[in-house]
Amino acid sequence: MTTRWFGAAVQRTEDPRLLRGKGTYVDDIDLPEMLHAAVLRSPHARARVTAIDVEAARALAGVHLVLTAKDLGGVLEPSPLLVPHPALTQPRTQLPLALDEVRYVGEAVAFVVAESRYVAEDALDLIDVEYEPLPVVHSLEVASAEDAPLVHAEIEDNIAAHFVQTVGDPSAAFASASHVLHESFSVERGAAMPMECRGVLARWDAHEGMLSCWISTQGPIPIRNGLAAIFHLPEHKVRVTAPDVGGGFGTKIMMFYPEEILTPFAAIHLNRPVKWIEDRRENFISSNQERGQLHEVDYAFDDQGVLLAVKDIFLHDTGAYTPYGIIVPVITACSLPGPYRLKNYASEFTVLYTNKVPVSPYRGAGRPHAVFVMERIMDGIARELNLDRAEVRSRNFIQPDEFPWDVGLVYQDGGPTTYDSGSYQAGLDKLKAMLDYDHFPECQAEARTQGRYLGLGIGYYVEGTSIGPYEGANIRVESDGRIYAATGVTSQGQAHATTFAQIVADQLGVRPEDVLLTEGDSQAFNWGVGTFASRAATVAGSAMHLAAVKVREKAKKIASELFEASPDDIELADGKVFVKDAPHRALTLGQLAISANPLRYSYGENARKLMSMRLAGPRPGPALPAERGGPGLEATEFYSPPHGSFASGVHGAIIEVDPTTGMVSFLKYAAVHDCGKVINPMIVEGQVHGGVAQGIGGAFFERLVYNEEGQLINASFMDYLLPTAAEIPSITVDHVETPSPLSPLGMKGAGEAGVIPVPALFASAIDDALAPSGIRVREMPLHPCRLYELLKATQNAQI
């Protein structure tokens, strides 16, 4: 059939509600009798906890509960290790409340529940904790030094994991190569900073034996399963809902943050609803962060600029714990080859504990680092051989006829790193046209005569997306003719209520606004994983498609029986099911839904109409024939991809650097994006815009600064600078659509992409702008002061 809504820039069905201030984020829910919680957090990066006195806090009027680790009984268990890996030999996860040692500033030490948040915070001030400070590991350099203090006393050398992968024969390739270079690269920590901080509301219903939680999370169903286990409840007696979520960007795909256990624990204990809302300072010091890595890279290439081998040895900062296993560095290692034919690759990484906030994926999840390294390599080859940077990339691209391309590594999902499809040269050609690449050197030369320093940078990436294990969808047509769809993923702004509706509408012949989606509610759909890894549109979207196809087939079958026609002659359009070439022989979807449910008692307008039509009567045999697969116009389907797919893209920017201040401004920004088939280009472009802005923040403005005591010294929006409308340029976006052969509709995933190549292209553009100085950027982020320092330190500084 021809699709109508798939691919169209349909306006979002979410918007009217959100625009009127009628969204429902966790803190918007106030329940009767509700109490409020606050968390006492460690002021030390590492200390022994020798005593906690909570008596004064307990005595404060309005305080209902004060919890320390010793009050938690059997709930005092380390959180589960989410993604075990054979190389992760020393995993450590966090307790809901620290018992005898704290390992980062912000670690939860006590939990207070009171009449109001104000009183709860008053009570925090009355808790007296005796700390015995211990030596602190505040950086990868300290963590890896000889005789370093130990973050976990029993873990030698602070090493959580060590992992080596080899593709081809790197040693032989290095030995015979005509050019070999060595460089060091570093990427410092940043943070997701969704505008809505985290939050948990829990209600215990003693009559029903039911625990209900509203959590600002990207994965409510795994949390439901975990809470059921922790509190010894049947899974169906725990309901976890992610209502409207004000941004996630990875930091909300986690279990468990301590408050996700402590809040329901308190609600059960007190038999009253309890709400905990994270404030921004807490978000800075207790929501997971990412990015810190140090890379030592050797690369070999021939006289033509063809990359022959890469050896990348890197250190990865996991913070005080490994809640998410070693997913991030594994993704870094697997993402490094990018769109290039890299046949000899030695990858080795060591994951080190530090006394800092734990690390789990943040939008990009290990990829911006990898792309930074590989694109620096491409620029390094160009510089060494005096070749054009785009030309070097072209000489190394995997060609369209070489797919599927096996990179030779095991990906984060345990499957092969096999690229399903891609059109890398086509993307670069588009970008060059958008930037007027061939004429830029003239503009640059012209500007330099005026004392202005313009630079052009490009960054190419391949992004593993759409990983399994699976997602599902339930689609049901109700008697009012509306279509109710449910799935286990969540939305934090990705507009699934619109895009999934587009997918379903195409199959059922309705408008997207007739499809009402419920997601992120464990009671609405029992199975699922969550929204992360640029996977929801592909994995849950494919399940939606499969379920919609099944409902469609069922509708055709039932209508064919009622109209005594062949199912092949039944069509669905405009909310009706009818016989081809005889449109008067038609039922609305609502009427068909009623007849799909052979009840003796039907009610309502649709039921009366259906009755009056006197269609084919009941057949002999059961009212609900087995082959119909149950009553109603309803179907549930699951989609499990064979392995992840691989989206790609290339971004480019023209910047201007002021060498006297180190300030950089963007004159032009262009992005070419290939996420396979596009469901809604407006939404994909919005994702790219937002990703780029986050990337620019991560490349230039945002850097979490920990001092030697492990204190995050810029833990506020006054000091940690998110880019504003005044700093982010207009972004031109174009698409290349290389369908994925893996999924039924050919999507690949778009959520993270925008952020990934930004550090790489930013470095490339700075090098280009300041080429006369001979500068070579090897670190990210690079704020103006640091760029100024680098410039001063560059020996050949002619500027």
Binding site: R20, A725, G754
Partner: protein, 176 residues
């Protein structure tokens, strides 16, 4: 003094305030230390005003106070005594049509997660009242007090341009 150290103040002092919010009059006895943002959200249950940082940087809590855009997290509710407040809920009111600014945000895809959106719309409302025909640079400057982590601002800027254009048409003037 010593006694104070042992028994710190519990901040239980209450005060009576009168405010007009979205045209409706309210009289409430509230703790003196209650933030205006918390008063609006949890006393009046107008939860469209969001709180993103509690230190006056993100702009999610922006409201109109006597017509001017202010951050409701930086004020105590008692400081608003006698004043008129407009929140996002007052923009389109109960009308089925969205306010032209809201409509423009929808058409230009100027929101994703929607958390910063009410504050931005209030800022834009005040901006366009002050300057009905802003340049892109002026729009970006005026928006720089509101953080958005999803959109990259581009479509917000486009939405403001569209809203400004429509509001300049005489029949649609900015309602006050």
């Amino acid at each position: 003094m010593q006694e104070q150290e042992e028994n710190p103040p519990t901040f239980t002092e209450q005060s009576l305030i009168e405010v007009t919010v979205n045209g409706q009059h309210y009289e409430r006895s509230i703790p003196v230390r209650l933030l205006l943002s918390d008063f609006i959200r949890h006393e009046l249950h107008l939860t469209g005003t969001h709180v993103g940082c509690e230190h006056g940087v993100c702009g999610c809590c922006t409201i109109l106070l006597n017509g001017e855009a202010v951050r409701s997290c930086l004020m105590l509710a008692v400081q608003a005594d006698g004043m008129a407040i407009t929140t996002i809920e007052g923009m389109a009111g109960t009308q089925s049509e969205l306010h032209p600014i809201q409509q423009a945000f929808r058409e230009k895809h100027g929101l994703q997660c929607g958390f910063c959106t009410p504050g931005i719309i209030m800022t834009v409302h005040a901006m366009l009242h002050e300057n009905p025909d802003p340049t892109e640079e002026e729009i970006r400057h005026e928006l720089s007090g509101n953080l958005c982590r999803c959109t990259g601002y581009q479509n917000i800027v486009e939405a403001v341009k569209l809203a400004a254009e429509r509001l300049r048409e005489p029949q649609m003037g900015v309602e006050q």
